[in-house]
Symmetry: C2
Subunit: 411 residues, 2 copies
């Protein structure tokens, strides 16, 4: 079990209510964190009510009356929810500006919310930061705690983020099974993996690779500039050697000028409130790359190989077979955030830090909101191997996180 480290920066406790919200893309374990916060607050006498926000800050601002009294839920019900994927309170994609944050603060004041827990990624930590600063500027004592969550694994200061190990487990398993499928009906198979800016999840495609001829044979990360010509040459090379080629492509691959490949290959993509183009829930990137391979890669007879593309989509973040480490840690970060509040800590976020030693262990640490807010962590160079693979250091890093993978055999 993770060991808790306490913070030195504390303030006197204040009586009032707590609110918990979930934000951004759901994960398989985000409800573990929700239940972790609820459990952690149970013995905290300064708190009268623990409210659940429907659809994060969006619900708080638009329909504050719909807040749920989470203190009334039984332990059995909480455990059942913790084990289920998706944001059980409902999530939100809103990115609050100054006016929106003022409304959040107003709603918090109205409900006497003094402890605000927001489970989400780097945008959510930024919301925590702004609201926390606004409250301080207004002389309203409210502590805001960001509870980390993202399948992208792109938060600063953390060894990894809750949600990533389970999504990585899905991706690794999918590539193992699909590798056998590709071997049985040889051709070029492109699988598009989530991860807008960080390649960790795409890199996880390699975690089930055992033999030298096992896929994925090529891995394209957003951190490595993507060139169509190099991609075609890579696929041709693998295909010439093995008669097949399984490719892992991040949805966020970019050309050297920082432009999303998806953007240059597909027309009419949506943009969300953050200005990000819609990469998930659309099959276009895989289809476009498959089209290029069909045109330019050749079999020995000069014909195009069999080419297929799958975009793994939302199953990556909601598949109900979470990594055991992830389930435990996601619960743990929630509990830790609640205990920080109970100990009078100032607003902050929680980081997972890997303990040294032979067997995997982690500890939780309070970190400042400004150190995680609106920042993006990328794959470190030592996890990347050339232009189309991951390094043994990445395999060593990620293997203990995903849990036992299936054992698959092949003739």
């Amino acid at each position: 079990m993770p060991v808790s480290k306490t913070s030195k920066s504390t303030r006197p406790l204040i009586l009032g209510n707590a609110a918990i919200g979930q934000s951004g893309g759901p994960t398989a374990v985000i409800n573990q964190s929700l239940v972790g916060v609820i459990e952690g607050l149970k013995s905290f006498k300064s708190i009268k009510k623990v409210y659940g926000l429907r659809h994060g800050v969006s619900g708080l601002v638009k329909s504050p009356a719909e807040m749920i009294d989470l203190g009334k839920l039984s332990a059995a019900r909480l455990n059942a929810i913790a084990k289920s994927p998706s944001a059980s309170l409902g999530s939100s994609r809103d990115k609050p500006d100054a006016l929106y944050c003022a409304k959040i603060l107003q709603a918090c004041k109205h409900a006497n919310i003094r402890y605000f827990f927001y489970i989400g990624g780097n945008d959510s930590s930024d919301t925590c930061r702004i609201v926390s600063e606004l409250a301080e500027g207004n002389g309203y004592d409210m502590r805001c705690f960001h509870v980390p969550k993202t399948v992208d694994n792109d938060l600063m200061m953390s060894d990894h983020t809750p949600g990533f190990p389970s999504a990585a487990r899905f991706v690794a398993t999918a590539f193992m099974a699909d590798n056998l499928d590709n071997a049985s009906l040889p051709g070029v198979k492109i699988n598009v993996v989530m991860g807008r800016h960080a390649g960790f999840l795409t890199a996880a495609s390699a975690l089930g690779r055992k033999g030298a001829s096992d896929g994925p044979h090529l891995i394209y990360l957003p951190e490595v500039p993507f060139s169509v010509d190099a991609f075609i040459a890579d696929v041709q090379g693998v295909f010439d050697r093995l008669g097949r080629c399984q490719v892992a492509v991040s949805e966020g691959i970019q050309t050297a000028d920082g432009r999303a490949v998806a953007e240059s290959l597909i027309e009419g993509l949506d943009r969300d409130a953050h200005g990000n183009i819609q990469l998930s829930g659309v099959g276009g990137l895989g289809d476009a790359l498959a089209g290029l391979v069909k045109k330019r890669v050749k079999k020995k007879d000069g014909k195009a190989p069999r080419v297929r593309a799958d975009t793994f989509g939302y199953l990556q973040r909601c598949w109900p077979d979470p990594s055991p480490v992830d389930s435990r840690e996601a619960r743990g970060v929630g509990k830790f955030a609640a205990r920080l509040a109970a100990k009078g800590a100032s607003s902050g976020s929680v980081a997972i830090v890997r303990a040294s030693g032979k067997t995997y262990k982690s500890v939780f640490q309070r970190i400042e909101l400004r150190d995680v807010a609106a920042k993006t962590r990328h794959m470190p160079v030592e996890y990347i191997n050339g232009r189309n693979d991951v390094s043994p250091a990445f395999i060593k890093y990620a293997t203990p996180l995903v849990g036992k993978l299936p054992e698959l055999a092949h003739l």
Copy 2:
């Protein structure tokens, strides 16, 4: 355990070799059938060698020297292979014509193959039929046994086909998890499911549905003529009522004139050797339907709802968490086919017949190749409910096949 019924149509046994091939799209349990045949042949004294064909009849014709001696594999190795998805011998998409079948027969004669087992769908049973008739016409005593396999569940004479229950298990689980994802970030979510002509797999999306507001809210099968206008009206209706809508769409949906919707909505689709357009391994249908919803479905404020589409792709047929019933039956049909051969039965196929009684049981039966060859079974009308749902009779039919589904909770 399934009980074997023997055939009355038998002929004297002949000494020689056996060959086993796998054909068509792989499944999560097609290797169970392979191992079932091998095990079933072990005590069959008339057989000298048991050969495995690399990539089905394609390998037999092009590179007969690459056949594998399957008799040398240990029981432990066989068990490991049986539990792994994909066609371990390699599969083939070839559809043999008369000349091709003559080459198959020639290769069989050359290797003294007297027992030919072909694990596949309705096209593979047709190959068995042609080769069997050709052998008989040539006075070459060779018995051809078709061992059923297809995730589409579209073989005649069978209650269901090996491969379907495991794929249905994946689809049901995926819809359950994605339903929670959709509830947490409400919008319209379209999931495209495999099944070119038969809607069984798409129908399986409903197997995890519990509450009245659970998705899938709309299910579109190839058996029910698809109209874009009706689809838009359906989605608008559900969205108005629930504020979200999860949709299951078969890749094979057709308009009233029998034209594939995918064909009318997407440019430049591939065709395979059977003349079928490529429906899997391409995200276009989902994206096209999502585009229509974005244009024509409106929120109360007149804006387009959040719309996403995922195409589940090949993970449906290879996900390594097979249904226990499916694993057992797939092994069983292989063993049963081998025993038919050992008992001197004429060429034929195997059907799974559901036994009457309260708890689920099945028996295997020899059927004629002509009764299954190149024919397609569709969803019976009693499994269909109106233009966009399945009936309670389908739920009753499919529930015992998929095994225990995850228990998911939601606030």
